[in-house]
Amino acid sequence: MRDETMLELLRRQGVSRRGFLKFCAATASMLALPPSMAAAVAEAMATARRPTVIWLSFQECTGCTESLTRSHSPTLESLLFDTISLDYHETLQAAAGTAAEAAREAAMQNAWGNYLVLVDGSIPLKDGGVYATVAGKSNLQTLREVAEGAAAIVSIGTCASYGGLPYAKPNPTGAVPVSEIITDKPIINVPGCPPIPVVMTAVLAHYLTFGTLPELDGLGRPKAFYGESIHERCYRRPFYDRGLFAKSFDDEGARNGWCLFELGCKGPTTHNACATTKWNQGTSFPIQSGHGCLGCSEPDFWDAGGFYNTLSTPITPVTGAATAALAAGAATGLAVTLANRRRKANARRAHPEVTIDDLEK
């Protein structure tokens, strides 16, 4: 069964050719491919093998898994997940304890060099990584072990991608993202707190369909979903351009749906697909609900100033530095004053009794 192609799997589940075509068309749409590519997707799907996937959860809140599984009815995403061979997922799998670990090792052995590793959560390094262990193994050990035989790693969520919440100052566990530990494998970052479900599935679909990684940006994110900022695709953008801003959450501007920039929206510096894909089956996204973007798909978003502080304001108050600088300036100024006064006084003392002889050499 492991060697079944996607097409075979779907047919075995009683899906007709029409259903397969529909599946391919929807997948192409999800991957933002032109409709003419649906045929290519179909062709690829007809021959693609279902991959082995191992999902590792480290310092995380399970929000990413929640995001992925909180679809109330079978959707294309869940169907897609049915087609992969999810051999290890602590939260979702039925097996527990040593049986679970054995399943993971078996899956790794069977697909060594070819399986996908999905990671959510950051990895603590401080004090030998004791802050997160599973079956007596630190996350660091587990990640190194599992990553060794992986074809590629998908960092699901901001914690795995950039460190996320555990990484925020003062980072008590010494948390780091996957990319700081694994440097010899292709890594796809799918940041977000949590990431949009369709983005996660699209990355898998792309890998499934074409067997390659999608095109990534400088921060390792698929360009198809993270290529544009929230601000660029925001339906409230015209208000920004016209200079119409909500000043508080219950003022006239807020009621009129004006731009939330002044209320701390991080849309301009946040790259994600929320403004177009939206959440909960396309119902809405934070800005549409009247709240600014938190910037959750960007590195260090917890430390990039308060969520309600405007993007153009200081992250840390400057008053302390300013006061210290003024004090230092005054102290140095006094020293310079004394030095200047002394120099001038010396010059006055050295002033000769001038005669006309002093006008010529």
Partner: protein, 418 residues
């Protein structure tokens, strides 16, 4: 002879004050002062840009009175000020600056460049980089009492002539007179009519006045060369004589820088206020006019204009008086396009006319005045500064212009009511 670089630099250290520091801190190198300087406008040579003339002093200020400059100097990154450099700067500081003060009015950040040039000359003088002719003039003023070497005997001869001409007595050393009148050697030697004019006007107006045999010379070469001690000594002679005679006022003659020296710099040079007041002759004449003691008859019919001496208007505040006086006697008074505090210099003030080596440049710079005059179509130009008058006469002659020059006091005297 004992001028040294160190003495010069030391003088600059002493002179640099808060205004100068604020000026150097504010300069943005916009170059607008160039367009205010007739040595630039008539040559278009950027080296005559006023702020550039101050470069050695700017560097000294930066190196000695700012923290960043001190650090630069300590790191060996600062270019020291040398004798060679100061010598090279001498023509910029002396020959091409008449202290006219126009740049100080134009500078958008408010730099008083003239104030700074005056201070820079303190350093130039004591480091031995003043023009030789100006040094000689100072020498003569200090040793003989007058930059042109005019002695009491020469003055007495001129007084006799004027007494004969006017039939009036010119009072000398009259204890307790109200006014002590001063003269410039140029007036004594070139325009002695000024003495006669004073005698006639004061006689008619009933002004109690006198000359002093101990202090008749008002010009102050110490101001022009920029040496405060010597300038102060020259001022002190007048102060001593005036206070000895017990006069209420001292009259500055028709000479721009003499007025500056006596009225504005004097108390600061001698370090105390005077026990008398200083008025320019035009201020006194206007006062007499106002009180009805100065009465004229008839008016000059031909068109005439007035050349404002810089030290009188821009640097002295005597602006309205000459116009009111001319209003009494001129039927067709024509103002130059830029006049009053916005006048253009004759080109020979601030010691420039005293320096032989500046002569060609001075004549070139006269073109500015020439252009102003050509727009007016006047036959007569009145002024109130003997130095301006001589410089203008040279310029008019050199540029073949047929315009008569006359001192305002003389012109008033000619129109006195009988």
């Amino acid at each position: 002879m004992s001028a040294t670089l160190e003495k010069g630099l030391n003088a600059l250290r002493e002179q640099i004050d808060a205004p100068i520091a604020s000026y150097f801190s504010s300069c943005v190198r916009c170059g607008m002062c160039a367009e205010a300087c007739l040595f630039f406008t008539e040559t278009r040579d950027p080296k005559y840009t006023p702020i550039h003339k101050l470069e050695p002093m700017r560097r000294l200020w930066e190196q000695e009175y700012t923290l960043s400059g001190r650090v630069k100097k300590w790191l060996g990154l600062a270019k020291p000020i040398t004798d060679e450099e100061l010598e090279a700067w001498s023509p910029l500081v002396y020959d091409s600056c008449t202290q006219c003060g126009r740049c100080s009015m134009v500078c958008p950040v408010g730099n008083d460049l003239t104030y700074m040039i005056r201070k820079l000359r303190e350093g130039m003088a004591l480091s031995g980089h003043a023009p030789p002719d100006v040094v000689s003039a100072v020498n003569r003023t200090v040793t003989l009492g007058s930059p042109m070497g005019v002695k009491l005997k020469a003055l007495q001869a001129q007084i006799r002539d004027q007494e004969a001409e006017t039939g009036l007595t010119v009072p000398i050393n009259v204890q307790g007179a109200d006014y002590l009148a001063l003269l410039s050697s140029m007036e004594i030697m070139n325009f002695p009519e000024y003495i006669g004019s004073l005698a006639r006007i004061f006689d008619r107006a009933g002004v109690s006045w006198t000359l002093s045999s101990e202090a008749f010379e008002a010009t102050n070469s110490g101001i022009q060369i920029g040496q405060a001690d010597l300038a102060g000594a020259i001022v002190m002679r007048i102060v001593t004589a005036a206070e000895k005679l017990g006069v209420k006022s001292v009259i500055s003659p028709e000479c721009g820088h003499a007025y500056t020296a006596l009225r504005w710099e004097g108390p600061n040079l001698i370090g105390r206020p005077y026990r008398f007041e200083v008025v320019h002759i035009l201020e006194l004449l206007d006062q007499l006019r106002r009180t009805g003691r100065l009465k004229t008859r008839g008016k000059v019919a031909e068109p005439l204009t007035f050349h404002d001496p810089c030290q009188l208007v821009r640097r002295g505040g005597v602006v309205a008086q000459p116009r009111r006086l001319l209003g009494m006697i001129a039927a067709d008074f024509r103002e130059m396009d830029e006049h009053g505090v916005w006048n253009w210099c004759c080109g020979g003030g601030g010691g420039v006319s005293a320096s032989e080596r500046a002569n060609a440049l001075q004549l070139t710079s006269f073109r500015r005045k020439q252009a102003q005059l050509e727009k007016l179509n006047v036959e007569t130009m009145v002024t109130a500064c003997a130095n301006c008058r001589i410089v203008l006469e040279e310029g008019l002659e050199h540029h073949h212009m047929d315009i008569k020059l006359v001192g305002l006091t003389e012109l008033i005297a000619e129109h006195l009511e009988e």
